[in-house]
Structure formats: structure tokens, C-alpha cells
Amino acid sequence: MTDDLIATAGEYVAGLMSPEEQEAFERRIATDGEARRAVADWRTRLLALDETATQLTPSEGLWPAIEAAVGAARPEPAAEPGWFARIWQDVSALRLATLAGAAAALVMAVLLVAQPFGAGGARPAVVAVLNAPNTGEAGAIVEAFADGRIRVVPLRAIPVPEGRVLQVWTLWDRQVGPRSVGLMERAQARDYATSGMPRPANQQLYEITLEPAGGSPTGRPTGPILYVGRGATPL
């Protein structure tokens, strides 16, 4: 491990990076196992400092508030309008992403009306714009069809290092957990045939992570999220 990586990972863990530096370094983490280990190493080494904090008894309302926030994320995604907003707040610095995503979704909706995708002009049940968690830049469009077909269209070059693969996931129910849609060896538009999933719903989560070649060994996302977004029913 180079001195530069050790110092840079330390700066990252200490929260010293500007948003731009942080974004660049998180991209590096996404594709560089050594950088990921350097970060984990600092977190482990410096944990003792967190343990020196004075314990502050939570006020009585805290657990009920957590339970309410968490509980709201549990039911059917479509039934909970507040969920969408909270998810976005959830990931840091995503305020702009929501706007960018909404704008991109609008563009897509217009494109879809002008030029329907799919065989026989079938329209997707759900369209999602996937954005980078840190910059909010749009990285891919997902169109999910009622028959289980899912089309993923990257909007920009996504670097895939040797020995790694992009993996597309969807989550419609926390109880079930994220399900793999399929692998993408390199960034290019692809159609996936899926089965055993419910009809795509409004607010359904889609994401692309970077995984070891062959796909996540655990059947759940293990790598960093490169792009994530929620589906919306096209007008």
C-alpha cells in the first residue's frame, strides 16, 4: 500500500475531503480493493476515538421516531409516498440528484411517447433514472416491462476493472431483499428476461453495483453502488 493511498484514505475517513475529492475517491474505492481496504483499516484503527465520546442518554422520543422512519420503509413501496423523499435524503448530498433525476425522467417520458420501446410498441410499466449517489449525475435508464423484461441503458461510460462486473439489482420489498436482474460485462444497453418478480411498481428501487467477476458471491449486493434510482410509471 503506497503512502499516498494511506494518507488519502486517512483524509477520507477523517472527513477532510471536499465534496469533489470525496466523489473522486469514492469512485476509486468502487473499483480498487486496495483503496477499500485502506479505508476499512483506518476506520478500525481510529474506532477507539469514537469510544471516548461521552454517552448521552437518548430522549424518550428517539426510538419511536426511528421506528416510525424505519417502519415507513417496510410496507409496499407504492403505498408510502414519503418513502421516496426519505430515501433520497438518506444518501448524502442527493438533493440535487432528485431534481436532476426528475428532469431526466421528464425527458425520458417525452422520448417514450415519441418513440415507444420494445416489441410491438409495448410500453414499460416502470421507468427509472439511475443517478450516482454522490454527484447525482444520471448514469443509466431502466425500463421494466410487465412481462418481466428489463432493459438497462447506460448513459455514460462506466469503467469496469479487470475481474469485476456490473450487476443490476432491483428491490421491491425489504422483506425479500434486493434481487439480481443480471450482469453487465461492460456498459452497454441490455435486455434481461426476469421471472419470479412481481409486476414492476411505482417507486421500485433499481441499482447498479460493481461486483466480482461472475456476480455477487452472496446473491446480495456486496460492492459499491454506482447508480441508483426509483421507478416511476410513465404517463
Binding site: R43, L49, L62
Partner: protein, 179 residues
């Protein structure tokens, strides 16, 4: 306070499976410390609780992302706490705080106390003590108080470049000392 011994790794795995009781176990075990860590950064008790509330939502949603191969669950959890606290400050609420925290208030800087509270014989403590005092303080002001380079430079009356260079060198010295 009753010490609750919880296997956090196991609790995260159960959270990933949708077991809310496991989230409550993490809360019972860690919440008071988490508020303490957040409060050192945001400097305000009620804001610290807001931060911790968001952290628990993140833990719940992201528990399946925790990779035991990359260190203890506790380190993963507290990284989320500090990250959320710093983001809360930098997303526009910091301006409110400047008025409330006098710039010269020594009590507003938690870095000193944190180092002193590390257990005797702790490798991190020993190695921090090996650093020149102001360099040690610079590093701790970043990690413990969540200060930016500029804030540290301002508080210590040092050029920005000096603080940046000191912290990088201190990190390398720390790492070498801890082995």
C-alpha cells in the same frame, strides 16, 4: 448505565433480514455513544439526536452492505455516524452553528479530551502521543470534531497548506507507529 453486550455483526445480519428487534439491540447497545460521537461534531444535543435517527435508518436500509471482511461492525456503524454528522453540518446548517459556538471557546473543541480518554496502553494513544502536539491536535480536530482543513487552520492560526501537510504526515506516522 447497564452495559449491553451485543454481537453487532450478528445484529447487522439480522437487520439485513428485516428483523427489527436486532435494530433495537443495536440501539440499546450503541445509541448513547452514537449521540455522543455525533454531538462532538454537530455541537448541539438535539441536532445530534436527529443525526442518530438518520443513522439508524441508514443502518436498517444498508445492513446488507456491511462486509465483515472489511473490519468490525462497530467501525462500520460509527463511520456512518461521523459521516452523517459531517454531512448535516456541511449541508447548510453550519451557518446556524457559527453564531452559537464562540470561535474562541476551548470547550467547543473535543479533540483534546478524546485523546486523553483513550485507554492507557492503547496503541493509538501511544502513537498519537508520539506526534508533536499541534500536529496531533490537527488530526484529532478533524476526526473527533469534524472540522475541515480551513476550520482547523483558522482555529490554530496556521496556513491552510501547513495543516493539510501536517495531517497527511501525521497519518503516515501514525500508521507506521501502529504497525
Amino acid at each position: 448505565m447497564v452495559a449491553v453486550s451485543v454481537d453487532l455483526k450478528d445484529a447487522l445480519a439480522r437487520c439485513a433480514g428485516g428483523d427489527k428487534a436486532a435494530l433495537r439491540m443495536i440501539y440499546d447497545s450503541e445509541c448513547a455513544s452514537m449521540i455522543g460521537v455525533a454531538a462532538r461534531i454537530v455541537k448541539r444535543r438535539e441536532l445530534a439526536e436527529e443525526v442518530v435517527q438518520e443513522v439508524f435508518v441508514k443502518i436498517w436500509r444498508n445492513a446488507h452492505r456491511y462486509d465483515p471482511g472489511l473490519g468490525p461492525a462497530k467501525a462500520w456503524i460509527y463511520a456512518i455516524v461521523r459521516n452523517q454528522a459531517i454531512n448535516t453540518l456541511r449541508s447548510g446548517r453550519r451557518e446556524d452553528l457559527v453564531d452559537e459556538v464562540p470561535e474562541d471557546a476551548g470547550s467547543a473543541v473535543e479533540a483534546y479530551a478524546a485523546a486523553e480518554r483513550l485507554p492507557d496502553g492503547n496503541a493509538l494513544r501511544r502513537c498519537l502521543e508520539g506526534l508533536e502536539a499541534r500536529r496531533r491536535t490537527s488530526l484529532l480536530m478533524a476526526y473527533v470534531d469534524g472540522f475541515s482543513h480551513g476550520e482547523i487552520a483558522g482555529r490554530l492560526g496556521l496556513p491552510l497548506g501547513t495543516v493539510k501537510a501536517w495531517i497527511r504526515r501525521s497519518l503516515l506516522a501514525l500508521r507506521e507507529c501502529m504497525g
